[in-house]
Amino acid sequence: MMLETVSERLSLKCKCCWENLKREVTGGYAGDLLSDVMANSSAGNIWVTRQVHQNIVAVAALKEHAAIVIVQGATPEKETLDKATKEGIPILVADMGEFEVVGRLHRLLYPDQG
């Protein structure tokens, strides 16, 4: 599924790198411990997190995530957006909490699963 489609369906607000919304998503990962995300997520994943500091961009770049979705309407820090722009990683913000975002994203990506 296209990242752009995910963004529309989940009513996400894109904060940077709009030009990179036309990319395929391979799946998702939810986590707020950076060490866990580094160990367990995969390339092409949408990473859903509550973290807003600039280290999330380094992790997303390292793991080649498709995008970062920040939940609870939290505001990404300026350094985070600057770094994400440099790396070409879209940062999207959801008003919903992490549980709802992950639930809806999972249903969207895997409609056949229970």
Binding site: L33, L34, S35, M38, A39, Q51, V52, H53, N55, A58, V59, A61, L62
Partner: protein, 245 residues
């Protein structure tokens, strides 16, 4: 006869991936002296190879350099651990490397340079220093104490990697020697924000990753002399030594 000393118990060197390369030992010492600091503690992320070089660079300047490390616990809480000498720090380092997985990626995280007192690069640290160790918060505090060190919870007011941000609260049964509040907040404002934490000693430090930040905050302590043992007394408010708030 005691007096007030300016102590900056948390600063990084170019060994930390997020610190600038200008944070090499002699540069840190020079700026610390210019800023009028009496005591500094060197605390790189999960590492300590540059501490001995900062100590050497400070020789003859009057600046006291305390060996330390900023350890990242399993819960991604940052703790500053400081020691009287390099031996205690070396033991902690062994335990940390034993529990730290991963290799650094310089493009993603930054360069981790070991630089000596003459400004020469000795090598690069290959560990993923930005990572979290497998050591839990409680175990980390016990370990540092068992090695004779002091534990200061880093920047508790910061949402990222601070005790309150990561755990939601300061766990009441953990014997922190002090809680550090960030340069932007300061001790007196922190006391207003966290009245429930009045039982803890508060310090503030620069947490400098850049030379320009070295002077941005320090803690004034009334001590008989600028030493680790005296700082331990001041944090405990013992024998007339104390932290000025």
């Amino acid at each position: 006869m005691g007096r007030v000393y300016r102590c900056n118990l948390h600063m990084h060197t170019c060994l930390s991936p997020c610190a600038e390369l200008d944070m090499y030992p002699s540069s840190i010492v020079k700026e610390s002296v210019v800023q009028g600091l009496d005591v500094i503690a060197i605390c790189d992320h999960n590492s300590s190879e540059n501490v001995q070089y900062v100590i050497k660079a400070a020789s003859g300047t009057g600046l006291v350099v305390i060996p330390g490390m900023e350890l990242c616990t399993r819960e991604e809480v940052h703790l500053v651990a400081i020691f009287e000498n390099l031996e205690g720090l070396a033991s902690l380092q062994e335990a940390v490397y034993d529990q730290l997985d991963g290799t650094n990626d310089e493009d993603a995280f930054g360069i981790q340079a070991v630089v000596n007192e003459a400004g020469e690069v000795e090598g690069f640290n290959e560990h993923l220093l930005i990572g979290a160790t497998g050591i839990s918060l409680n175990r980390a505090v016990d370990l540092v104490h068992s090695l004779g060190g002091l534990v200061i919870a880093s920047h508790i007011d910061r949402t990222a990697f601070g005790l309150i941000g990561q755990l939601g609260f300061v766990p009441p049964d953990v014997p922190f020697d002090a809680l550090e509040v960030s340069a932007g907040l300061g001790i007196s404002q922190a006391r207003q924000r966290y009245p429930e934490l009045r039982g803890y000693a508060f310090v503030t430090s620069s947490d400098a990753h850049f030379v320009g930040d070295i002077g941005r905050a320090s803690t004034r302590m009334y001590l008989e002399s600028p030493s680790f043992a005296e700082i331990r007394l001041a944090l405990g408010r013992l024998s007339g030594r104390y932290v000025l708030e």
